[in-house]
Amino acid sequence: MKQDLDLYHYWPYENRPKIRWPGGAKIAFWVAPNIEYYELDPPSNALRKPWPRPTPAVPGYSTRDYGNRVGHVRQMQLLSKYGIRGSVSLSTALCEHHPEIIRHCRELDWEFFSHGIYNTRYTYGMTEDQEREMIRDSIETIFKHTNQKCAGYLAPALSHSEFTLDLFAEVGSDLFGNDAGIYTCDLFHDDQPTPINLRSNKRFVSIPYSLEMNDTIAYVSNKIEPRRYGQILKDNFDQLYKEGSNSGTVMCIPTHNYQISCPHRMKSYEEALEYITGHSDVWVTTGREIAEYYLEHYYDNAILDIAEKMVPQS
């Protein structure tokens, strides 16, 4: 084990080259609905138990299944109302299990990115070859079912290895060149996109995804009341919008429809979306669009600036 994977260099938030989003927007705002499949009886993993109780894990499994049976359509209708296209963090086996959901997303022109095969298959303990095979399977599955060349990655259940980002970028290049494998949502170190160091030196960025705004972290881990969650979303936006007049920021709301689409949580979520999209200088966008725009306009300057700031000050 290493002290640090050196995925990115220290790069202070102040005095960076300024970002301006399309149309002069101050903030890039994206919503990332996780569309996941949890297995009732997954193989065991020595490092992390999929379910806390002996299978069948009826409480945990059925709670997740609510998102697929009931929740996704609710959020699709809500996001459409506010002109938001989702960027789907996809358990790619769901393409085979529930193609109806994929079809709905495609009709809305949503983006799909890889979230592994199942959310009950952790990366922990995989060899590099096994992880590469899993990632390749997920990118190929997305292409087969959606015709999209998967741009982004969020490791299944946020389970990583030392090679996860390298592998994702490399498999993306193998399959589709620079059209696939260009951004990650796995890192929470910044409120702006940042270049990521890979062994292949591929141009690759981290796009802010935010654990703090994640509904499951808010509701399940932090046990926040729904109206407070709505307020937190607004407060997060206000600060990033204000700072965005200096240099463009990114706000993401990662969601899970077994949480956010419960009837008692939709009101505060809708109020937050109405508030955010009601501002004039907001670029309502997707993960891929942010990554591509940044790679095209800001990545090279960022690399130069990071190198300059790594020089010890005399």
Binding site: P52, R53, V58, T63, Y66, R74, C262, P263, H264
Partner: protein, 307 residues
């Protein structure tokens, strides 16, 4: 180190579910259900009457809301028993004040131990659901079939004998099951059960002994989940129910009837400082003209007639 060779094999990766317990279907794609008299939202209140034994075994996991202190944990034992002695009578008054019906999910041991309470429940005309034998009599994966068969038989036979009701419904303690539970329930004359929280409407659940109805009894909207597990305020609990009610009423306007299922615990919401919240909620709900106060059997009978 290499992960198990099964870790990259996906034997159930195909259309539908990764099991054959029920059919894959999205609520939004199903035909709408019409409740009687054009009502939009069925209000199903379920009240739990529970017995938490002092000599808790915790097999195979700690009993939710059970004993946590060294034996004899009188603090939790008596606090839970409070619901059966005091809280439930406050609940009865609140229900009567607003003319709202409820089902009552009862551990069979409660019926055995408290005949006065059982008689009261019967006289008041509540539909009784079997809530297992007691809160520490868990159903779980790895349990021997013989042990679980005896447990289901004992719980249902005894509750039917004592109550004189047919007992068609079931909620497992901790809403936990073994792989055999649904089949054992079907073999024992159960028609609906409420452990699976994956839908907002009833659906068919298959067993080798026949089909059950899975009834949607939300855990996320439970008083215990919101107030005790999440430590939200009483005011927030009330807001969450009202927000859910309004959302479902709105959805029902164009998608067909919906159900607002409130699972309640008299040992929690029946406390003096919380009972007014129940009163306020029932006042709000009963003032909605599009709400139908219904028992689970009422709901299932409409559901079956339209499915």
């Amino acid at each position: 180190m290499s992960a198990d060779k099964n870790f990259l094999k996906y034997p159930h990766r195909s259309y539908g579910m990764d099991h054959s317990l029920y059919k894959w279907s999205m609520l939004d794609d199903r035909p709408g259900i019409q409740w009687p008299n054009g009502k939009k939202l069925a209000l199903w209140i379920n009240i739990n009457l529970q017995f938490f034994p002092l000599n808790q075994q915790d097999k195979p996991f700690p009993v939710p809301a059970g004993m946590t202190m060294p034996y004899p944990d009188l603090r939790h034992y008596t606090l839970r028993d409070y619901g059966n002695r005091v809280g439930i009578y406050r609940f009865f008054n609140a229900l009567d004040k607003y003319g709202i019906t409820s089902s009552i999910a009862m551990n069979t041991l409660v019926a055995q131990r408290y005949p006065y309470l059982l008689r009261k429940v019967i006289e008041r005309g509540h539909e009784i659901i079997c809530h297992g034998y007691h809160m520490d009599a868990l159903h779980y994966g790895g349990q021997s079939l013989e042990e679980e068969t005896d447990l289901v038989n004992m719980a249902l036979d005894e509750l039917r004998k004592l109550s004189g009701q047919p007992i068609k419904g079931w909620i497992s303690p901790a809403k936990n099951e073994s792989h055999s539970t649904p089949q054992l329930l079907a073999e024992n004359g159960i028609e609906y059960f409420c452990d699976w929280v994956n839908d907002d409407m009833p659906y068919e659940f298959f067993t080798n002994a026949g089909t059950l109805i899975a009834m949607p009894l939300s855990t996320e909207l439970e008083d215990k989940f919101i107030l005790m597990d999440n430590l939200h305020s009483e005011l927030s609990y009330k807001e969450q129910i009202i927000d859910a009610c309004n959302y479902l009423l709105d959805e029902a306007s164009n998608k067909g009837g919906r159900i607002l299922a409130l699972n309640l615990h008299p040992w929690l919401l029946g406390q003096p400082h919380r009972i007014q919240i129940l009163d306020q909620l029932l006042e709000y709900l009963s003032s909605q003209t599009d709400i139908w106060s219904a028992s689970p059997s009422d709901i299932i009978s409409v559901f079956n007639s339209q499915s």
